[in-house]
């Protein structure tokens, strides 16, 4: 059974300036960090992206993340994807995670579409055997036909997006993390893609979706949470959270 539990997590991003780097780290090391005035100390400036967030998601939940830009939606998705280990607090996640955050991590322009399928499939955690057996299905879904043997640089951006989407969605996920804007390419494929996403969402145990689109969240989610400046402001039914979101936006 897939489940997610976040316990008082915070994520702070260091902001490194070019000048405040190696030089100060060395000086700091040599001086024991005592001689320099406080403002010069190596304590790097940090930006709080998520603050003291606790959350429990159970199997069967479809959670929509809302909040304005910079509220921490993407960061939260990346914490769930295991990219960021929180600066403080604990994360407890069970289940196979499929992140659909970037459209195409690791695509190589000079390689053919087929080669890219194999490489990216392996990067996503499939074994060579596993991805080779899935390749035909992926090619068919992408609708790229003979283009699959041509180098990626000959593809239009829409075709690249189709390929990336088809590879990423070939696995049966336990926990599906979706950032909005995935799969949106040409109209015909977008329809096919949204059908596939819906199909995946049905098969998946947990869905976490970050989106600005109210209709998308209303149609796909049964819970929602509102992030505001890295804090969890509201959590509950989609209706309730959407109302709160509008209120925040109105201010």
């Amino acid at each position: 059974m897939a489940h997610i539990k976040l316990d008082h997590i915070s994520v702070d991003f260091p902001v490194f300036g070019a000048a405040k780097n190696l030089r100060l780290a060395i000086i700091d090391g040599l001086t024991g960090g005592k001689i320099l005035p406080k403002s010069f100390s190596s304590k790097v400036l940090t930006v709080k992206s998520l603050e003291d967030l606790s959350l429990e998601i159970k199997s069967g939940d479809r959670v929509g993340l809302v909040g304005h830009n910079g509220a921490g939606k993407s960061t939260l998705l990346r914490v769930l994807a295991g990219v960021y280990l929180p600066t403080s607090g604990q994360v407890d996640i069970e289940g196979r995670i499929t992140p659909l955050l970037n459209q195409t991590p690791g695509m190589e322009n000079e390689d053919s579409g087929y080669e890219n399928i194999i490489t990216i499939g392996m990067l996503l955690g499939m074994s060579l055997v596993e991805i080779t057996t899935k390749a035909d299905e992926i090619i068919e879904f992408s609708g790229l036909g003979d283009y699959i043997n041509l180098p990626l640089r000959t593809y239009s951006s829409g075709m690249q997006a189709r390929l990336g989407f088809s590879i990423c969605t070939a696995l049966k996920p336990g926990i599906l993390l979706l950032d909005e804007g995935i799969g949106a390419a040409d109209a015909q494929f977008a329809e096919k893609a949204s059908r596939r996403v819906k199909d995946m969402v049905e098969r998946t145990e947990i869905l976490v979706l970050a989106s600005h689109s109210e209709s998308m969240i209303e149609s796909m989610c049964n819970r929602a949470l509102l992030l505001h400046h890295g804090r969890l402001l509201e959590i509950g039914s989609v209706d309730h959270v959407m109302k709160a979101y509008k209120k925040v936006q109105g201010l």
Binding site: F13, P99, T104, G125
Partner: protein
């Protein structure tokens, strides 16, 4: 230890240590160890990444990867012609000597040089999903080992033409290679992490590499330097690494000092790399 047992046939998602309720420090160490071990087991992936990179580099060229060896041979031939003239040596002796040092040097320096940017260019992946980051550094080593193998074939042709007599010491190439590669892996790991955090490091490493080629006996013989300055040679770990490969290629046995130095540097280097990686791996995605 459970996650160590899963085979490479399984996808790494299956062997991934669960994000569980252990403390963050335990979590950190567990994941770093998983990364090093699982990353290595994913040889299918990193050998593929390095093969792809190789074929990409020479796509649409007539001779393909043979260019690596050809350009190395051209460079070494012309250098030998000039240097053998300068030092009044025989080109037939000097060319195999130069090549047998230049080829290992190329591998070691390219591993270090390419490691400066390997994590930086993996940003898209690192910020998208969890996977063993060491796959990227193993890939750097594998790619340059592949180039080394290419070059060695070129060397054998040249050496036979120049009349180098090989003997059973050639088999010492294998333990030598294992030791050098073990060193390459930790160097790659440390350099890639430091370069991600401190961007100045990239420049420092590049200029160090430029200096090292002249300070290390590659174009000249180790016994040409005498007295106190011989320390430049004897204390130079890179020299000992090259020596482990160069001597067998010239039909000689490497000095036992070279084995000792390389083994010690592998141990110490791995200790440092392990310490650095276990304490900083979880911070890498924050450093872009």
């Amino acid at each position: 230890m459970e996650f160590f047992k899963r085979g490479s046939r399984l996808s790494f998602a299956a062997g991934l240590p669960r994000l569980d309720r252990s403390t963050n420090a335990e979590q950190r160490i567990k994941r770093a160890r998983w990364d090093i071990v699982q990353g290595f087991q994913m040889w299918e992936l990193w050998s593929r990444l390095s093969l792809n990179e190789m074929s990409r580099r020479y796509k649409r060229t007539l001779l393909g990867p043979a260019w690596v060896t050809i350009s190395m041979l051209i460079f070494a031939s012309i250098m030998s012609f000039v240097w053998a003239g300068l030092w009044k040596q025989n080109v037939r002796e000097f060319l195999p000597f130069l090549l047998s040092g230049l080829i290992p040097w190329t591998m070691i320096s390219a591993v270090v040089g390419e490691s400066t940017g390997v994590l930086l260019s993996g940003e898209g992946l690192i910020k998208n999903q969890q996977f063993p980051y060491t796959v990227l550094t193993y890939g750097v080593v594998a790619r340059n080992f592949l180039i080394f193998v290419h070059n060695i074939f070129g060397y054998f042709v040249v050496a036979l033409l120049c009349g180098v007599i090989f003997n059973s010491s050639l088999f010492l190439l294998i333990p030598g290679l294992l030791l050098v590669l073990a060193n390459c892996v930790w160097m790659s790991l440390i350099v890639s992490i430091l370069c991600l955090r401190f961007r100045d490091f990239q420049q420092i490493v590049v200029s160090l590499i430029q200096i090292t080629i002249f300070v290390t006996p590659i174009f000249w013989k180790a016994d040409q330097i005498q007295g106190g300055r011989a320390l430049i040679v004897n204390a130079n770990v890179i020299h000992h690494m090259i020596e482990l490969l160069r001597a067998p290629l010239l039909g000689e046995v490497p000095a036992s000092l070279s084995y000792v130095v390389c083994a010690l540097s592998a141990l110490l280097g791995w200790f440092l790399a392990y310490r650095l990686f276990t304490s900083k791996r979880h911070r890498l995605p924050y450093w872009f």
